[in-house]
């Protein structure tokens, strides 16, 4: 399948269309909404399901050196990407140091829903992927936060962390974030219980998975559309551009790593997607604690309203095409 075919087919997938429906509904000010409790529950479900599946895969394939190396590569990327992002933001936009650091943290970290959407596309292409990539996703959540904090503290010691929370205390607050705990926990449970465990709960975490993902994407569309309607004017053209070109920068970096790591085509597509995706669940909450002076309207709107739809609609097919070139 050519990249254009892939992109077109992706655009008419229920997932992308439900996201678009959500955005549209929010823009026409419909009162369509997913209750907060349901949204949290859906997010919990997705984390649990993806973590468990990853663990089951690893229980089948066993541990190997590739897993360790890929995890190290993920940590390195998560730490390096914010540095590059911060520099670009300071050069090309008017964001202050704290805002620039906060935004770049989102890009160093990952979006598990973008990852999940990519797994669906990869599976749709008949490809498989290394189960341990879920572990890679989990470890990529936090290094970016540390990097952003270091950047902010060096550039604006007064503002950022003026109250002197130690880095350790902050990391404890951030590292016990519920979405990370459930992802990692479910991964280990999947690993420990293996296929027997999977057989037991597959009708819950596998069969309805894509449908629930559609519903969650509808909700993300509603939130993104509302964000664009209300927070849109916070985004300068330079920032919006960043939200689109920077994932490509991260993707290029990750593609180089993927080639070196010798990942499968599916695995490379997912690894690139992780690097190119920007967090909008775990990191925004972490930033409210770590850098409360940063403006949340900027980073949330950019990550969820610009980068997420870009990745969902165009980025992932592109990363899959790149992966097909470099791997396999």
């Amino acid at each position: 399948m050519s990249i254009v075919d892939l992109a077109v087919q992706n655009l008419v997938s229920p997932m992308v269309l439900f996201f678009a429906l959500g955005v549209t509904a929010a823009l026409v000010r419909s009162d369509l909404s997913v209750p907060e409790a349901a949204a949290k529950f859906l997010a919990l479900y997705l984390m649990l399901a993806i973590g468990f599946k990853g663990g089951t895969e690893v229980s089948k394939s066993g541990l190997d050196a590739a897993m360790g190396l890929t995890i190290l590569a993920g940590i390195a990327l998560s730490f390096a990407i914010p540095m590059i992002g911060y520099t670009l933001l300071r050069l090309t936009t008017r964001l202050g140091a704290v805002d620039a650091a906060a935004v770049s943290a989102h890009y160093g970290s990952i979006s598990i829903v973008t990852f999940v959407a990519a797994t669906e596309i990869v599976r749709g292409l008949g490809l498989t992927f290394e189960g341990y990539l879920i572990a890679v996703a989990a470890v990529m959540e936090t290094p970016a936060i540390v990097a952003a904090l270091l950047l902010a503290r060096r550039a604006a010691p007064r503002e950022a962390g003026s109250q002197g929370e130690s880095m350790g205390a902050l990391l404890r607050e951030v590292g016990t974030n519920g979405s990370i705990v459930i992802l990692v926990g479910a991964f280990f449970i999947g690993w420990a219980t293996g296929e027997r465990g999977m057989d037991m709960i597959a009708p819950f975490i596998v069969d309805p998975f894509r449908g629930i993902l559609c519903l969650f994407l509808l909700d993300m569309g509603l939130v993104a559309g509302r964000g664009l309607r209300q927070g849109g004017r916070e985004l300068s053209p330079a920032l919006i551009a960043f939200g689109i070109y920077f994932p490509l920068v991260s993707a290029a970096l990750a593609a180089a790593f993927a080639a070196m790591l010798g990942l499968s085509v599916g695995g490379a597509a997912l690894f690139i997607t992780l690097a190119a995706s920007a967090s909008y669940i775990a990191v925004p909450a972490a930033m409210r604690l770590a850098l409360p002076e940063a403006n949340p309207a900027i980073y949330l709107t950019l990550s969820l309203g610009v980068t997420f739809p870009f990745n969902l609609a165009l980025g992932i097919p592109l990363y899959a095409a790149v992966a097909a070139r470099i791997a396999g």
Binding site: V34, A43, P292
Partner: protein, 103 residues
């Protein structure tokens, strides 16, 4: 019924910082506090709504503390210091309680 005059401090605060606030209140040794949900609002930081949000970021809670007039300043100062860094507002109002010794 005999009633005693107290102060009610209401702290509207972004939800991710809730634990920081309640930990602070514990350190300040207040007699208690109550957390109420908030579903949306508007202020200098713009409009927000809890609908559809899968995480605490972007949502707020309201924490109210009933305290005696004498303790008011002692509680208010550090609370305001914390709230100042975050998105939030603090209000104080008069209230009567029945079992005055409990607050």
């Amino acid at each position: 019924m005999e009633m005693h005059s107290k102060k009610r401090i209401e702290i509207l605060l972004e939800a991710p910082a809730q634990k920081r606030l309640t930990d602070l209140l514990d350190r300040l040794d207040v007699n208690g506090y109550t957390v109420l949900p908030v579903i949306g609002g508007k202020g200098h930081h713009g409009v927000w709504s809890r609908e559809g949000l899968p995480s605490a970021a972007g949502t707020m809670v309201s924490v109210s503390v009933i305290a005696s007039e004498e303790r008011l300043d002692e509680v208010l100062r550090p609370v305001f210091e914390l709230v100042r860094r975050h998105i939030g507002i603090v209000t104080v109002s008069d209230v009567m309680v029945i079992r005055g010794d409990r607050f």
